[in-house]
Symmetry: C2
Subunit: 427 residues, 2 copies
């Protein structure tokens, strides 16, 4: 199996089959669509182009494909032992992105973002990270392409998850606990909330301030935006080829949703067949934590992408940009909104949403680990829980459906959550 | 590429080409070779047979191969980015065993041991673990085969490395800090050294006492013995096939050595060509920490396998069974001896030994991570250091040799060592 040469752009197919695209980002003041000139202080031009592209495919740079070879194609594994444990006639497959050296799918886009930044003369990328999956992926990608990397890490994670920080520092990234005294906005947060543990919203605000104030520095985001979802389609494109080689194809496609990039990356190439009418009954299930369920419980409206209310307005399903999710262990799913494209697809009933509490999610994670050996990231375990529920439905209905879920990352740096689960102290 | 059907037994080739086998284990009292009847309280009969077999091959049970499919064949990766960074004409390959769900090569033998134990009616396996690589592999293997698992974990690791313990407990193993009050020998250690942090020697003693005292429980060891080395030859057999497919073959074969199983597993299938005269100049390099260098600095003599001096006498290169190595981060290499077969090969000058201090080893680990993205286990990083040195020799000598090393595990549960390294506080 080969690594795909091109990413797949869903917007081309939405245009073609629905004659409609998700509503564009707006200026908060003018409420007019933002243009490239509004985004150039933050992003390299090639990524801005990809953000609004309606071309069917976008080339994957050779330099990125060369690095993809370190871990791609990622394996598509049939979870036979899990099927047996569940006594289900369903075939359960998982696409395992945890084989990436960064431990998750996040590296797929981090490499592309670092590559184009380097190509356009950027010297440094700045970003925020919560639990640290995205920060470690960007740290590695910038190291590979010879860029500097600055990560604002939510203070409580910085203190409680020292090992994610060690990973980033091993790749020479500079990691700063947020809020910090290094930015104007950070100082104002510290003045306003002197004892704050920080939040993703504050960290984004600091990162954006740094990027906007330094021409050699750009900002990098790990989910939500079109170009990030685009880069993740390498997952679904590979899976489609792998299914073809196996002579099978999925009836149900499942992924966990924070900002939505890993689910979208797996789903979009398979969604094309639903849009075209070739597979009208194929189902797509995005899985959220019930404590932060933007698709399941949010409103479909324009909202800010960050808690600092500094970004353009995005048409999302949102719990409100001031919503503060409880401190669940799936830190990567603690986002108040969802990618505009996914919100649009959910509204069109092309994608379903499901939500689970974290105790049932960790229980599913352990069942999976017992069968397949892999300890999943708490985020990915949401997809496992939904896959198990679909497999049990197949048992009840005596249907031999094919289920695929994205195992977006391993949980080896999230063992505190498992410790709490085993001790019975999870809420 | 397929998973091998059979393990390769080096003893067959030693018999054939050297006409000589490594000296057998002896009774400490009688100094006569031990027989099967001495070992049955501790090991299942099939493993005892494998321990003394001189057959050329030993079948891999189908049930084990089925589970191997979850992570085998493990990838053989050319470290092109590292070659470039070193400006070497050498080709550097690594066999990556960190893809195992247990995170290291240890699962290769744990599965076989659990399988035969189950088959012979054993209900529970008991073992010891230091840092926890072996303990987590056996916990997973016993879970897969429906056995109970009891792990005596060196007390200081139990307290300082809670995440390895969480991994074992997630797979339903019972983990007891050693020395414990649960065994006679544990109570005597506690009486003698009330404030001890424990040691591998004490933990082995507790595990052996439990196995010897309960018919339904057997003891399981993660290195040193012939049958363990035999099971690890799956690594080298795969690598040989992978090289064939690439049209290349190694001039230098490298692995780190604690008890010696991961190095032996990679090396033995390639060593056959040296013994047969087909590849007389192929080199084999076992790499040790300079603070615990049994091959480089030990004496070749009969010694106990454990600090408690309870095992049969093994003809090893040994630093003395009472030697207490300093607390380096490569906990898996803190063993006073080396597998009898490896000691024999070293004495015959078929295998070379090299030793490095841990600061230079961590520096090599970081260089590797910067080039290849993978954070290696501190143990495996010893092999990386030697591979880099060989590649630099090739640069000086302008030789385009082919180097392979075994990347026996990832370092994601060993980040404390990297934290100390980055902070400059490693000794």
């Amino acid at each position: 199996m080969n690594i795909p040469q091109r990413f797949l752009n869903l917007n081309y197919y939405l245009q073609k089959y629905l004659g409609e695209l998700p509503p564009p980002p707006l200026h908060p003041a003018s409420r007019q669509p933002v243009g490239p000139e509004d985004l150039t202080p933050l992003f390299p031009m090639e990524l801005i182009k990809q953000e609004v592209s309606v071309d069917e495919f976008v080339d994957i740079p050779d330099e990125v494909r060369e690095i993809y070879k370190l871990y791609r194609p990622s394996p598509l594994i049939r979870a036979k032992r899990l099927e047996k444990a569940l006594k289900t006639p369903a075939r359960i497959y998982y696409k395992y992105e945890g084989v990436s050296p960064a431990g998750s799918h996040k590296l797929n886009t981090a490499l592309v973002q670092a590559y184009y930044s380097k190509k356009e003369g950027v010297k440094r990328l700045v970003t925020e990270t919560g639990a640290g999956q995205w920060g470690s992926a960007l740290a590695l990608a910038t190291k590979f392409f010879g860029l500097k990397c600055l990560v604002y890490m939510v203070k409580i994670s910085f203190e409680q998850k020292p090992y994610r920080r060690v990973v980033m520092e091993l790749f020479d990234a500079k990691v700063v606990p947020s809020p910090s005294k290094k930015t104007r906005v950070g100082r104002s947060f510290l003045k306003q909330y002197p004892r704050t543990h920080g939040s993703l919203g504050m960290a984004i605000a600091e990162a954006i301030e740094v990027a906007a104030g330094d021409e050699a520095t750009k900002y990098s985001l790990g989910s939500v935006l079109n170009h990030v979802l685009l880069h993740q389609t390498v997952i679904g494109l590979e899976a489609k080829d792998q299914f073809k080689a196996l002579g099978d194809e999925p009836d149900v496609v499942i992924g966990c949703c924070g900002g939505g990039s890993n689910f979208s990356g797996l789903a979009f190439p398979f969604l094309v067949d639903k849009l075209s009418g070739k597979k009208p009954n194929r189902r797509f299930v995005g899985v959220e934590p019930s404590s932060c369920a933007s698709m399941s419980k949010g409103e479909y409206r324009y909202d800010f992408g960050d808690t600092g209310q500094q970004t353009p307005l995005l048409k999302m399903e949102t719990l409100g940009s001031d919503f503060v999710p409880p401190p669940i262990h799936a830190g990567g799913l603690r986002y108040h909104g969802i990618a505009p494209t996914l919100a649009f697809l959910h509204q069109k009933k092309l994608v379903e949403a499901k939500a689970y509490d974290q105790v049932s999610v960790f229980r599913a994670a352990q069942e999976f680990a017992h069968s397949e050996g892999v300890i999943p990231a708490p985020e990915s375990a949401h997809a496992i829980k939904a896959a198990i529920d679909e497999a049990l439905r197949c048992r009840r209905q005596r249907k031999a459906e094919t289920i695929i879920f994205n195992l977006s990352g391993h949980g080896l740096l999230d063992l505190k959550g498992y410790e709490d689960f085993l001790a019975g102290s999870l809420r």
